[in-house]
Symmetry: C2
Subunit: 254 residues, 2 copies
């Protein structure tokens, strides 16, 4: 079966308090994109955070002693470092202009996902930053419920971000919020072409979907922060992005 990924064009700039379900459904209708059962809607973290008003103004942040120390080590703005620390469980790596942390949501990423790009700034300021949604799994579930309530179609919703990773260069799309689809697909016990049982084949399908959507979203001025994915063949189980967090004591790759 063919997999298709349709970017959703002409979404307006998202503002705090906007109802994303309404904006997405309106943009899809305008583009002639109807939702079908089994579709998955991939939404960039950034517009979810904007709708939820997850902005912070660095001018309002008072850095503590640990933030001041890490700011000296990294050369980063101490107020930004303070926000990163507040969003993090643990600092895993410090280097010039880089702070890799274990986010309170469990995953490991640069700067706790706090970002200034594609964030509107008041005249003369560069102090407004955007944090990740408070609970992206809950955001995905809410968006899904609103879409189901409006359109009566059973769709999945995935909130995607871009992460760097160990061992490999470049960022890739990953899932940080999942609702209405599995995050991991456990294929152990299935048989291969020759009838032998497969092993070690938990597939991170939510991350594969986020990566695929990354190819059509673009990151720059293209402004395509939502993608309609059709043709996935997934088991009828529901997971969360939390399923994708590898517990530290089981992380044999590190």
């Amino acid at each position: 079966m063919t997999l298709t990924l349709h970017p959703i064009p002409n979404l307006p700039h998202v503002e705090p308090g906007d109802n994303l379900a309404v904006l997405l459904l309106r943009a899809m209708a305008a583009a002639g994109l109807a939702l079908h059962d089994g579709d998955v809607l991939v939404v960039a973290q950034k517009i979810v955070s904007k709708a939820e008003g997850r902005f912070a103004n660095l001018a309002d942040v008072q850095p503590g002693p640990r933030a001041l120390e890490l700011a000296r080590e990294t050369g980063k703005d101490a107020r930004l470092v303070e926000l990163i620390l507040r969003e993090s469980e643990e600092v895993s790596r410090v280097a010039p202009n880089l702070l890799i942390v274990r986010h309170r949501l469990g995953f490991t990423s640069a700067n706790a996902g706090i970002d200034r790009s594609n964030v509107p700034q008041p005249e003369g300021s560069q102090d407004i930053v955007l944090l990740l949604p408070q609970d992206p799994d809950a955001s995905a579930a809410r968006l899904r419920q609103e879409i189901i309530a409006t359109r009566r179609v059973d769709v999945g919703v995935l909130i995607a971000d871009s992460h760097g990773r160990p061992f490999r260069m470049g960022v890739v799309g990953v899932a940080i919020g999942v609702a209405g689809l599995p995050a991991l697909w456990d294929r152990r016990g299935e048989q291969d072409l020759y009838g032998f049982e497969l092993q070690h084949t938990d597939v991170a399908v939510a991350d594969e979907i986020a990566a695929a959507a990354g190819l059509v979203m673009g990151q720059a001025a293209e402004g395509l922060p939502a993608v309609l994915v059709r043709g996935l063949r997934l088991p009828p189980t529901f997971g969360t992005a939390h399923d994708l967090v590898r517990p530290k004591d089981k992380d044999l790759y590190r």
Copy 2:
């Protein structure tokens, strides 16, 4: 622009010496799939290895002292461990039934990509294993040249495998061979929606394509080891899978 991924149906079982370009073009023609300029053909590592005859028979392998020691630690077959060591630069992690190594090709993965699943076995044996292609970037380039020579269309070729990764659960598709498309897309210097310059946005597009293809390939008895990807918008630069290997001294995520 819509991205589509068509699995290529009815590929025959691949045997050593088979010409993959011929098999793929024949299967595409039978399925009514024409190749267009800019398409990318994603091929599972397994059928490339099979065509290249990268089988090994464990019955022929004499494990050395290091393999015997690691076999005791992991509970793995010492002959398999010997093959893993021969394919590796460095052992990075040892645990029961698991050996994570830095492959001679640079990337870090379990068991150096050596696998028994979907490998035909002689009656009564389970000793035949399959190694990664000798040089997957070269395999991709060769396959691409053969397709261009036959069909006069400018396509990219990507050889995909599934890897586990640190921090996150589950395997995802990754690129281990690339020809005729970029592996990394450096988007630094581009501007965001509000005119600010983007930073840190090297995107691992080849890995995102491999992950997307993983969604349609399946891993079990489905037998869909090749996918035609259409609608990518990539810069006209060519990279290799080697570009995706993060040099150890630049690996700030570890």
